[in-house]
């Protein structure tokens, strides 16, 4: 798990693109799928909340997940 501090828009975007790329090209095991969707959801929420300046909300999510 990437530490909250290290998570940036750039790293979140890169990771999301990697996840989507993986889902597009690989046969994904169900457990891996759930994990990836969960991670993708987290990254999307991270970006969206941060764009709207909801830093506290982001921190909460990070605590939940991390």
């Amino acid at each position: 798990m990437v530490k909250p501090k290290e998570l940036s828009y750039g790293s979140a975007l890169a990771e999301l693109e990697e996840i989507v790329g993986g889902m597009e090209s690989e046969a994904v095991d169900v457990d891996a799928l759930a994990e990836r969707v969960a991670r993708a959801s987290f990254l999307i929420r991270f970006c969206k909340e941060r764009l709207k300046g909801a830093e506290d909300e982001v921190k909460k999510i990070v605590l939940e997940i991390g």
Partner: protein
């Protein structure tokens, strides 16, 4: 002869010898207005930075108002120290104040040409030094959300800019900090450079710098055609966006800036669209995650089958789960899939729902179980020999069992 008598002779000689009005090219070395509105200048001519001629000059208050306004409108700069001008003068000698020029008219066209020439020289210098394109070479940040503003905090342009940012219709949050600077007048160079230095010291806290003109005199753009400021912008480590708010040709600051917008409001729009571009990429990826997840889940040869097979085995060997409950599981997954497809309104919620449905703990809670042999989840009964000990994990607790036979997927048990 008294001094007054001598001075009277000088006065007569001067007005006799120089009776006309003369057009003179001179640099304004100093300019002061007194309380009555009279304007006093020191005019100089320089050669290689050395003064080779100097003379006092005056513009009387009632003429100064007209002249200065006419000049400023055409030349796009006020009459001020440092500019070169073409002046129509009368030569006067006063018994007390001595020799001086009385300015009757000023031709702005000369100063315009002079200013253009100096601008060209500065641009050429920046080009020769190889720095003119430096700032433009910096990549714009992925999300330009933290803005360092150089402006005058009391100015209308600054207010327009921050208001436009804050009231963006998408609800994006912008973090902006003003680094106050004088945008015109003698001290503007020092002041703007100091603001850039202050930003540089904490550049990690910002994504871009916005140079926003503070309003005030609509004509005085001198500070933006300044070499030192232009060079600072060019070498600045963050992209500099200008919003100087003028209609005429670009200033040198505009030329070296990363991006030049016409007005402070346009700079705000530019930044909002930058953040919007990122938000759209995220939304597109969100859609892709939902679609691919749905496709993978709905692929009959994939997940559902896998789960069904897994649970069928468990059902056959460990528990007697009614077929109806498997159908129920299938239905729930289908419901999850449907939600996946409702991506218009709640892609994210749907994804989370699917994740919840797939969570092994939730599946166990519904009465299913996982059987392990040698620590690995069992998917195939044929690999387990008779007499082997298998561990079944339930929602609460575990069971150990000894295998007494294997079966195919039809549910019939072979052997004992």
């Amino acid at each position: 002869m008294t001094l007054l008598e001598l001075n009277s002779l000088v006065k007569a000689a001067v007005s006799g010898a120089l009776p006309d009005l003369y057009w003179v090219i001179a640099e304004i070395a100093e300019l002061k207005l007194n309380q009555k509105g009279h304007c006093y200048m020191d005019l100089v001519e320089k050669e290689d930075n050395r003064t080779i001629a100097q003379m006092k000059a005056t513009v009387w208050a009632y003429e100064y108002r007209t002249l200065s306004r006419k000049f400023e409108t055409s030349a796009k700069t006020p009459l001020k120290q440092g500019i070169k001008a073409l002046l129509q003068v009368a030569v006067n000698f006063h018994e007390v104040y001595g020799l001086s020029l009385n300015i009757k008219d000023i031709d702005p066209a000369y100063t315009v040409g002079e200013t253009e020439l100096r601008k060209k020289e500065i641009v050429e210098r920046l080009r020769k030094e190889g720095i003119i394109d430096l700032n433009r070479g910096i990549s714009l940040p992925l999300v330009p959300q933290r803005i360092a503003i150089i402006s005058s905090p009391t100015a209308a342009g600054y207010g327009d800019f921050t208001e436009h940012l804050e009231k963006n219709p998408y609800g994006y949050k912008f973090y902006h900090t003003i680094f106050p600077a004088l945008m015109q007048g003698e001290d503007s160079e020092k002041s703007v450079l100091a603001a850039f230095d202050a930003i540089e010291k904490q550049k990690d806290n910002f994504d871009v710098a916005a140079l926003i003109r503070g309003g005030g005199s609509a004509a005085d753009l001198g500070c933006f055609d300044n070499y030192a400021i232009a060079a600072r912008i060019a070498r600045f480590s963050l992209p500099v966006i200008t919003g100087i708010g003028h209609e005429k040709d670009d200033t040198i600051s505009d030329i070296v800036a990363h991006t030049k917008m016409k007005t402070p409001t346009a700079v705000a729009e530019f930044l909002i669209s930058g953040v919007g571009g990122f938000a759209e990429r995220i939304s597109a990826l969100e859609g892709s995650v939902g679609l691919y997840a749905a496709r993978l889940l709905s692929d009959s040869s994939n997940v559902l089958n896998l789960l069904t097979r897994r649970f069928t085995l468990l059902a056959a060997h460990v528990f007697t789960v009614p077929q109806g409950r498997l159908d129920e599981l299938g239905n729930r997954l289908s419901a999850g899939l449907k939600q996946f497809f409702q991506i218009k309104t709640g892609r994210l919620a749907a994804a989370e729902q699917a994740v919840r449905l797939l969570d092994p703990a939730k599946v166990l809670e519904r009465g299913y179980s996982i059987t392990r042999y040698k620590g690995k989840a069992l998917k195939d009964s044929s690999i387990v020999p008779n007499g082997a000990i298998i561990i079944t994990e339930l929602y609460k607790g575990r069971l150990g069992s000894i295998v007494s036979g294997q079966g195919g997927t039809d549910g019939k048990t072979e052997g004992a």
